[in-house]
Amino acid sequence: MTKTNLNRRDFLKGAASVAAVSAIPLSTVELAFADPAKNFTFAYISDSHIQHIKGSRFVNNWDRGLIRAVAETNLLQPKPDFVMFGGDLAQLGTKPELDHGAEMLAKLNYKTYYLLGEHDYYLDLGEYWSELFGPHWYSFDHKGVHFVVLNSILTFDEWTFDRWPTAEQRMLEMAGLDNPNGSPFMVGEKQRAWLAKDLSGVAKGTPVVVFSHSPIQKIYKGWNFWTEDAEQVQALLKPFDDVTVIYGHVHQIQYNQIGNISFHAVMATAWPWPYPRAYAQAESHMPKITVPMNRADPFFERDATGWQFINLKTGRVDMEYNLKNNTNRTVAYNPNTGRPEDTRYQAEDDRITPQIHY
């Protein structure tokens, strides 16, 4: 871990030893950058699952998670350049849920970008979401980095348009886990064609960061930790030197390297998910790509949820997970191994022994 990361983390979370913080004035954070102009940070909030009960009532716990993430992000110093919201703002895609969520996000003091999750989409196919937040896919440039925002939770047209008697049932079927009636996520041909065109004007040395809701890789189909046309999307990204894909949906820390592409998942503000090992009824051949999260402490309602801020250094992502009531984690690209690694817990021996009994 570089000194910069350490300082930044201590500064955000509070160090174990106050003396250590005092010894390193915060101003050194700025000095540590070789070329401050090229480096910047942005914050990432995702998977809030705002859930309407009835009337003006919403599930309190999910509300509090998003409210807290927004309030904390507003306190960040140095200020992030922008905020990305990573999808699943709503639980069942209704207007009350999207409105309520948008109202909470409106308190962010920063330029905010949004992308679609399946929970926002499958009721009205993103129509109301679009009224609030804009196009379903787009790209933008910031300080020499090309950012691409995808709608990666589309699926087969037949499933979306012809199979279900009501929009509500379609929404519920897609929201289920291990649901035989579900359907795998995909970016789809139309959007891939747009992506190819969008990337055609970008120099190969330009760092590219892709934001999606589902992982643009295949992890576990039963929970749609999966994108059916992941390989085709990866192929479009292959010509670039530095590519990072950041995705939500999985509510846990994951990271991986496939060829030139680094993958990072972000935390949910609503609830944590375990890696779905226990749910695999047959041998699943899941890749071992994460340092597992410690078990959530049920005493703390917010444990194993969180949000993150991201340092973009020379085009590579340092993902800093701000975890509630837990030890913060940093996953950064390791140039020696050519892949993202946990800066503190990567080696088996360095990990905190999980609690195995209750």
Partner: protein, 382 residues
């Protein structure tokens, strides 16, 4: 349970546990409901050291006015608080921002002060002397001057530490004060006699109902911990329960920035948080800079709580009933008030009715140790 904890402590090599020494220094058994007092290896208890500590605790010359001592805000007759003051009064009637926490059983706490800015009793004793609204000294020199020259002190320090003159430092002063404070422990309350002593009659029916609420519907025990063999009524953790911070919600970004931009020394923090009421409300965040700690304060013990009104870190809540109502409302004093963005996850509306609230208060009244009962009677009489 206790055995397991004991082994861990010894294994860590940090603490040795000993029997309890009374004020007079005699070995006495641990009161019902409490574990053995943890005694740091580098500060063993001796009767002479405890006596010296008590003398230092009651010394008023260690203040600019010659009127303020440790006991001023932690009076033995008031269960080692300054009840009914809302916030403590130091020199020239200057007031701080926080309600005086009791010394009783502070020997068991893993951090000291409401925001835990001090790791142990030895360190804690350093700070009030040089706080401008407490003892008011500029530095510790006047204290050292007295303890090095005053014949009684000189003899006591020679006897206890084998040191004299310049060899006596604040280290020895605070070791002695901490030793005395480790004798200020109390259990044996009606609750202890009921729960640990098997005296069925020690609690009234209402108090028993309150105990059930404390463990279940009221969810009090989540933070005010009761264990199989002992009850410290604290988890030694920090929580934002919607007190204080609720008054400065719009100022949080500005106040938080003050601590994020400049790393203050602990002494600077001590002055900041005790002299500026708005800054005080930021809680443990001033120490840890962790967002989890915004507006959070240490879970206080509930022992002798009935005799130490008013309540909360700022003394803003007058009665135990009002405390329960605050929790019942989900961390707001009045229903409908805005909930703090940083409220701890465990705090949410409880939906207790009026009778249940009274039952909980009755239970808390059963936590008074016999030696402080008299204060309770006086409080009732007022």
């Amino acid at each position: 349970m206790r055995k397991a904890v004991f082994v861990v402590l010894l294994g860590a090599g940090l603490l040795a546990s000993a029997g309890v020494l009374s004020h007079a220094g005699q070995e006495q058994s641990t009161p019902l409901g409490l574990p053995p007092v943890p005694i740091p290896e580098n500060n063993p208890q001796t009767p002479e050291k405890i006596a010296l500590g008590e003398k230092l605790y009651n010394e008023t010359r260690f203040s600019t006015t010659g009127e303020v001592g440790c006991f001023t805000c932690h009076e033995p007759e008031k269960a080692f608080t300054d009840s009914p003051l809302k916030t403590s009064e130091g020199i020239d009637k200057l007031t701080g921002t926080r309600n005086s926490p009791t010394v009783i059983n502070s020997a068991y706490f893993t951090t000291q002060f409401w925001d835990g800015r001090s790791p142990d009793l030895e360190d804690q004793a350093l700070h009030p002397f040089i706080n401008p609204v407490e003892h008011g000294l500029k530095d510790h020199k006047p204290i050292l001057k007295i303890v090095r020259k005053d014949p009684e002190y000189a003899k006591a320090f020679k006897d206890v530490f084998g040191k004299s003159g310049k060899e006596i430092t604040m280290r020895e002063v605070t070791l002695a004060i901490a030793s005395f404070e480790r004798t200020v422990i109390s259990g044996d309350s009606p609750f202890d006699r009921y729960y640990y002593g098997g005296e069925e009659e020690a609690l009234t029916e209402q108090q028993k109902r309150g105990f059930d609420l404390f463990l279940n519907e009221g969810r009090c025990v989540s933070c005010h911990v009761i264990e199989q063999t002992q009850a410290l009524f604290t988890d030694n953790r920090f929580h934002n329960i919607g007190v204080g911070i609720n008054n400065i919600q719009d100022d949080v970004p500005q106040l938080a920035a003050k601590f994020l931009e400049a790393d203050l020394s602990l002494s600077e923090v001590d002055v900041e948080v005790l002299t500026d009421p708005r800054t005080s409300e930021i809680g443990r965040f001033a120490i840890s800079h962790g967002f989890d700690d915004l507006g959070s304060f240490k879970t206080p013990t509930l022992r002798n709580i009935a005799v130490t009104a008013p309540y909360m870190h700022d003394g803003s809540v007058e009665t135990l009933k009002d405390v329960v109502i605050h929790y019942n409302n989900g961390g707001v004093t009045d229903v409908g008030d805005p909930v703090n963005d940083f409220l701890s996850g465990g705090i949410r509306a409880l939906d207790l009715d009026e009778d249940q609230i009274d039952d909980l208060v009755a239970f808390m009244e059963a936590l008074t140790s016999p030696e402080f009962e008299q204060s309770a009677e006086e409080a009732d009489g007022q």
